[in-house]
C-alpha cells in the first residue's frame, strides 16, 4: 500500500435511486443486502465498519416498507478511497439488479449530518387498481374532517395507540391515472422519530385495504434542504408525545413459526435465523 493510498480519506457518496414495482415486496433488510451486493459486484472499495462481524458503511434515509415502490430514495455509502462520481455511477449502473435505477449521485461531506436525522416527511401516492372509484372524493373528505384517528400498532411486542390524523398533512383524491387502470390518492406525511405517517394506515382508514393497490413513495423531504423546509413550513409538525396514548398491555406476541427442532427451555435462546441455520446445517453437514 503506497503512502498516498494510506493517506487518502474515504469518500462518502449520496445516491438517489428508484426502487421499481417489481421490488416492492422486499423488506428493508433485504434491500440493505441487495445494495451491499450491488456495490460488491462493482468491486469498488466499499468501506466496512470495524468489528467482529463487519457491516458496510451504508445509511438509508428512510427504510421503504414491504409493499412499496419508491421514486427518489436516498442512501449514503462510503468508499475507502475516492473515485470520480461519473465512474462510480457508471460502475453501479452496470451492477444494478433489475428494477432499480440511479436517479442521482453526488459526493457529500464525510461529516455531513446523517440523512435520517434531517428527515421531515414524504410524498406518497396510493394507487387503487380500479378504473373508477365513485366515492373516492367523499372518503378523503371524511378522513380530513376527523381531528382524531386512533390506530393500534404493535411494536417490539408492545401494543400501543396513537393518533394518526396529526401526522397526515395532505391527502387528496387524484382521480384516475393516465393509463386508466388506477385511481390515485396523493398523500403527504411527516416523518419524525416516533411520529411518522404510514400510508398503509391511511389506506385502512379510507377503507381501501381490500382492493388491489400499489403504494408508491414519490420523494422525501429534509430539513437540511431549504426548498424542502419551505414546503413543510406551513404545517404544524407534531412530536411522539403529542400523538401517543398510554400503552395498553404488555402482551408479547410470538408470531415466529416453530420449526422442527425442539429447544430446551434453559440454555441459549435459538432465534429465528439460527433455526434456519440449524435446518440448513442438517442438510449439508
Amino acid at each position: 500500500m503506497s503512502l498516498t493510498e494510506r493517506g487518502a480519506d474515504p469518500q462518502r457518496l449520496r445516491l438517489t435511486y428508484a426502487r421499481g414495482e417489481s421490488l416492492r415486496f422486499i423488506s428493508h433488510q433485504d434491500e440493505f443486502r441487495m445494495w451491499e451486493r450491488t456495490i460488491r459486484r462493482t468491486q469498488m472499495p466499499l468501506a466496512y465498519k470495524q468489528g467482529f462481524n463487519p457491516q458496510p458503511h451504508m445509511q438509508f434515509a428512510a427504510p421503504l416498507g414491504v409493499g412499496f415502490s419508491g421514486g427518489r430514495e436516498l442512501m449514503d455509502f462510503r468508499l475507502e478511497r475516492p473515485l470520480p462520481e461519473a465512474e462510480v455511477a457508471e460502475r453501479l449502473t452496470q451492477a444494478l439488479v433489475p428494477g432499480v435505477n440511479i436517479v442521482h449521485l453526488q459526493t457529500v461531506e464525510l461529516r455531513a449530518t446523517p440523512l435520517q436525522a434531517t428527515l421531515l416527511g414524504a410524498d406518497y401516492t396510493l394507487l387503487i387498481q380500479t378504473p373508477v372509484l365513485p366515492d373516492g372524493r367523499r372518503r378523503v373528505k371524511d378522513f380530513l374532517a376527523r381531528t382524531e384517528i386512533w390506530r393500534t400498532r404493535q411494536r417490539k411486542g408492545h401494543t400501543y395507540h396513537y393518533n394518526l390524523r396529526p401526522v397526515i398533512h395532505e391527502l387528496s383524491y387524484g382521480g384516475p391515472t393516465a393509463d386508466g387502470r388506477h385511481v390515485a390518492f396523493p398523500l403527504r406525511v411527516q416523518m419524525l422519530a416516533g411520529a411518522t405517517g404510514r400510508p398503509d394506515e391511511v389506506l385502512a382508514e379510507l377503507g381501501l385495504t381490500d382492493l388491489p393497490h400499489l403504494l408508491h413513495r414519490d420523494r422525501l423531504y429534509f430539513s437540511s434542504q431549504a426548498e424542502d423546509a419551505a414546503v413543510f413550513a406551513p404545517y404544524t409538525l407534531v412530536q411522539q408525545s403529542d400523538i401517543a396514548a398510554p400503552a395498553v398491555g404488555q402482551a408479547r406476541h410470538k408470531t415466529r413459526p416453530r420449526t422442527r427442532r425442539h429447544t430446551q427451555g434453559k440454555g441459549l435462546s435459538v432465534d429465528s435465523p439460527q433455526d434456519f441455520g440449524n435446518k440448513a446445517a442438517d442438510e449439508f453437514r
Binding site: F25, D30, R33, V97, R260, H262, G267
Partner: protein, 682 residues
C-alpha cells in the same frame, strides 16, 4: 380460472399484499433467466421444482446446476418453482391461481417437463401439493399424453418406491448429463406425436427406460410374499433393465458462477462452489458417503476462477466450499490461503462445512481466522465413545476433538457446534451419557481459554437406517428409547452455556418409513396428504396422526416398516436400484459393525466397494488424478496420498486374548488407539 401469465400477474397484484413474505413468489432476481416463449428455436421447456418453500429451495445447488446447464442451451429453457407456504396455497385455491413458474409466470401445465428435486423424505407430500396446484393428475397412470413429463431426481430417488406412483421417470444418480438424455427422448417423442397422434404415454415410458440411470416405475411389477416381504420386482417390458444402475459424471462439470441472488434471506444466502463430490471415509450410517462415490475433486484453478467470477456476477459476501468432507480436499489449505490473500480485504467470508477433526489443521484454522469471522465451528463426532465410533466407522479420538476445541477457543471463537446421533446399533445408555460428558469436557476447555463466553451448541438426531448403506438392515430405535435417551441428555447438558436441540422422534419416524418403505407406501403418502399432511419438515404443520390414520386405513403396519431387523437375504424394496456398490461390500460392512471391525479411508486402501467394477469405462476415460479411486490399467500407480491411516490389524496378529474370537478376517483398530497418537508413536 386464471390461465395465462398476464392473468396470473393480475391475480398476484390483488392477493400478494395479503400473504406472508410475498417476495417468495415474485421472482425477478439477479441472474434469473426469463427466455422468450415465442422463440421458434425452443425445443423444450423445463420447469425445475423444489418441493419446499423458496427460503429452502432457493439454496439448493443441484437445482441451480441444472438451471445453469439447461439455460446455456439456446434451444432449451429452464424456469423455477417452489412450494407455496400454506397461507398462499389457500389463497391460490380460493382465487383459482394455478401453480406458476417464477420467471415468466406460466402455469406448470404449459411446460414440456416438470422436474422435481427430491433430496429428502420430509418433502414428499409437498410434491403432491404442487402437482395438485398445477392441476395435474397426481399419479403417472392417470396422466394422458398431453401432460408434461413429471420427473424426479436427487438422493431421495435411491429408494424410489414410496414416490413411484407419482413420477413418470426417476433419475438415479447424477443428473448433469442424464437430464439432457431425457429432454432429447421426450422432445423426439413429442415431434413424432405430431405425425403420429396415436403415440401414448406408455410409449414414452418405454423410450425413457432405455436411458441409463432412468427408472420408470410403471414398467415394473412387484409381487409380495405372504409375510409382506417382497418376492420379486420384475420389468414388464424388455426395455426396462432388471437393475437400474446410477449415473455418474466422469469429471465435475464447470461450477455455477452466476448464482441466482435472492432478495429475501434464504438458508444458505451465499455462493456455493462444490470442490469435491463423494467421500472416502466410509461412515456406515452415511448415505451420502455411499451413494456419491467415487470421489472426484475439482482442480484448484477452477475453484479460484469460480470465486472471481462469482464476485463479479453475484457479489455474495460469503462463499461456501461444498463437499461431504471439505478438509479432505487435497488443496484445501492452498485454496483458503489464496482466497484470503485475494479477497480477504473485501471482507469475503469463507464457509467450510463438514470439517473432519482428523484433517482440520491448525494452519487451516489460522487462515480462516483472517477472513470475515464466523461465530464458530461445527464438528460431527456422531458418537461419544471409541467403541461406538468403531461401530459407525467414524474413528475420531475424543482427545483430538478436545485439542481442536482448545485451538478454536484459544483463537477467540466463542461457539463450537457438535452433532451426535443416537440410536446407533449396539448403543447403550453409557454411550448416550458419554455424549453429555464429552460436551461438558469441550465446554470446560472453552471456559479455560475464554471463560464464560464459551458456548457449545449440541444437535442430536436419531439414526435413520438409510438404503444403500451398511445399516440398511438395522431397525429404527423405538420412540420410547429415544425419549429416554433425550431425557438423559437433557439432564447431562443442563448448563446455560449449552444449547441442546434434538429431532422430534415422531418426525424421525416419518423419515424412516418413507426412506425404507416399498411401493405400497405411495398409497400411504397420497392418503396422508389427503388427510392434511403437508410441509412435514415444518414443526407446526407436521401431523403424525394423518400418517397413522393412512397406514391404518390401508391395512399396513407402520411398526413392521420401522422396527424389523431385516435378514441379509431379504429382498429390499430398493434392491433393483444400484448405487454402484456390491452387495457383498455392504454385507461385509454390516458384519464388521457388530464384530468391531473398522475400515480405513479408502484413499489409503481400496475396499472394493464396487465403483471401480461398475464404472470401469468412466475410470479409464477420466484422468488418473481426477478420481481418488486408483487408476485402472497396467503401469498405473496409485497417486501418493497424504492421509494418516487408521492403524488396523487383523485376527492373525491380534493380541493373544482376542485371537480366534471371529470366524472371519475382520480388520480392527488397535485397542485404545487413536489416529494421531498412533502416528506420534510409530
Amino acid at each position: 380460472m386464471l390461465d395465462t401469465p398476464h392473468q396470473i400477474t393480475q391475480g398476484l397484484n390483488r392477493v400478494l399484499p395479503k400473504v406472508s413474505v410475498p417476495a417468495r413468489y415474485t421472482g425477478g432476481e439477479l441472474n434469473s433467466i426469463a427466455k422468450d416463449w415465442s422463440n421458434l428455436q425452443l425445443r423444450s421447456r423445463v420447469v425445475l421444482a423444489f418441493p419446499d418453500i423458496y427460503e429452502l429451495g432457493g439454496s439448493n445447488l443441484g437445482l441451480m446446476i441444472l438451471y445453469d446447464l439447461i439455460n446455456k442451451r439456446p434451444d432449451l429453457l429452464a424456469e423455477r418453482v417452489y412450494c407455496p407456504w400454506s397461507d398462499f396455497e389457500e389463497v391460490m385455491r380460493q382465487e383459482e391461481i394455478p401453480l406458476f413458474s417464477l420467471e415468466t409466470r406460466h402455469p406448470l401445465a404449459d411446460f414440456d417437463i416438470l422436474a422435481f428435486s427430491l433430496p429428502y423424505e420430509q418433502l414428499y407430500t409437498n410434491v403432491l401439493t404442487m402437482l395438485d396446484l398445477a392441476r395435474l393428475p397426481l399419479r403417472a397412470m392417470d396422466r394422458n399424453a398431453d401432460c408434461p413429463l413429471i420427473l424426479a431426481g436427487g438422493s431421495g430417488c435411491y429408494n424410489p418406491e414410496p414416490m413411484s406412483a407419482f413420477f413418470d421417470a426417476m433419475v438415479i444418480g447424477e443428473g448433469e448429463e442424464a437430464i439432457f438424455d431425457v429432454i432429447e427422448v421426450h422432445a423426439a417423442w413429442q415431434t413424432e406425436r405430431k405425425s403420429n397422434p396415436g403415440l401414448s404415454r406408455f410409449d414414452l415410458w418405454r423410450r425413457l427406460a432405455c436411458i441409463p440411470g432412468v427408472y420408470v416405475p410403471a414398467l415394473y411389477e412387484v409381487t409380495y410374499q405372504t409375510d409382506g416381504c417382497i418376492e420379486r420386482v420384475a420389468p414388464i417390458v424388455p426395455e426396462a433393465p432388471a437393475e437400474v444402475m446410477k449415473r455418474i459424471v466422469k469429471t465435475l462439470p464447470p461450477p455455477v458462477t452466476r448464482f441466482i441472488v435472492p432478495y429475501i434471506d434464504t438458508v444458505h444466502n451465499r455462493a456455493a462452489i462444490e470442490i469435491m463430490r463423494g467421500c472416502t471415509r466410509g461412515c456406515r450410517f452415511c448415505q451420502a458417503g455411499m451413494i456419491y462415490r467415487p470421489v472426484r475433486e475439482r482442480p484448484l484453478a477452477e475453484v479460484l476462477q469460480a470465486v472471481d467470477d462469482m464476485i463479479e456476477h453475484c457479489g455474495f459476501e460469503e462463499v461456501s466450499f461444498l463437499s461431504l468432507s471439505s478438509s479432505d480436499y487435497t488443496y484445501v489449505e492452498e485454496l483458503v490461503r489464496r482466497i484470503v490473500e485475494k479477497h480477504g480485504h473485501a471482507k469475503l467470508s469463507i464457509g467450510l462445512p463438514s470439517l473432519r477433526i482428523e484433517s482440520f489443521s491448525v494452519g487451516l484454522m489460522d487462515l480462516l481466522e483472517k477472513g470475515r469471522r464466523r461465530s464458530g465451528f461445527t464438528f460431527a463426532p456422531e458418537a461419544a465413545t471409541d467403541r461406538l465410533r468403531d461401530v459407525i466407522n467414524k474413528p475420531i479420538a475424543s482427545q483430538d476433538l478436545l485439542a481442536t476445541a482448545a485451538e478454536v477457543y484459544r483463537r477467540g471463537w466463542t461457539t463450537i457446534k457438535m452433532y451426535f446421533m443416537i440410536g446407533h446399533p449396539t448403543q447403550t445408555d453409557a454411550d448416550v451419557e458419554a455424549i453429555a460428558q464429552l460436551v461438558q469436557q469441550v465446554l470446560q476447555v472453552g471456559r479455560a481459554h475464554i471463560g464464560r463466553k464459551a458456548k457449545v451448541r449440541v444437535g442430536v438426531s436419531t439414526l435413520v437406517p438409510k438404503p444403500h448403506t451398511p445399516f440398511q438392515w438395522v431397525p429404527l430405535e423405538r420412540t420410547d428409547q429415544i425419549d429416554r435417551h433425550v431425557k438423559i441428555l437433557q439432564e447431562g447438558l443442563r448448563d446455560r452455556s449449552i444449547a441442546f436441540t434434538w429431532n422430534e422422534p415422531r418426525e424421525t419416524v416419518m423419515e424412516a418409513f418413507l426412506t425404507r418403505g416399498d411401493r405400497r407406501m405411495s398409497d400411504v403418502v397420497e392418503r396422508a396428504w389427503e388427510l392434511g399432511a403437508k410441509l412435514d419438515a415444518w414443526g407446526e404443520h407436521y401431523q403424525f396422526e394423518s400418517w397413522r390414520q393412512a397406514f391404518d386405513e390401508l391395512g399396513l403396519d407402520m411398526d413392521w416398516y420401522l422396527y424389523r431387523n431385516r435378514d441379509l437375504d431379504e429382498m429390499l424394496p430398493w434392491d433393483h436400484i444400484s448405487a454402484g456398490l456390491h452387495k457383498e461390500f455392504l454385507h461385509e460392512e454390516y458384519r464388521n459393525t457388530f464384530l468391531g471391525g473398522v475400515v480405513d479411508d479408502c484413499r489409503e486402501h481400496c475396499f472394493s466397494c464396487g465403483i471401480l467394477g461398475n464404472f470401469k469405462e468412466e475410470r479409464r476415460e477420466a484422468a488418473d488424478d481426477a478420481w481418488r479411486c486408483p487408476p485402472l490399467g497396467q503401469g498405473r500407480n496409485r497417486q501418493p496420498v497424504d492421509i494418516v491411516p487408521v492403524p488396523l490389524y487383523f485376527n492373525e496378529d491380534m493380541a493373544p486374548d482376542r485371537q480366534g474370537q471371529f470366524p472371519m478376517r475382520v480388520p480392527q483398530r488397535r485397542e485404545g488407539t487413536v489416529v494421531r497418537t498412533m502416528t506420534a508413536t510409530t
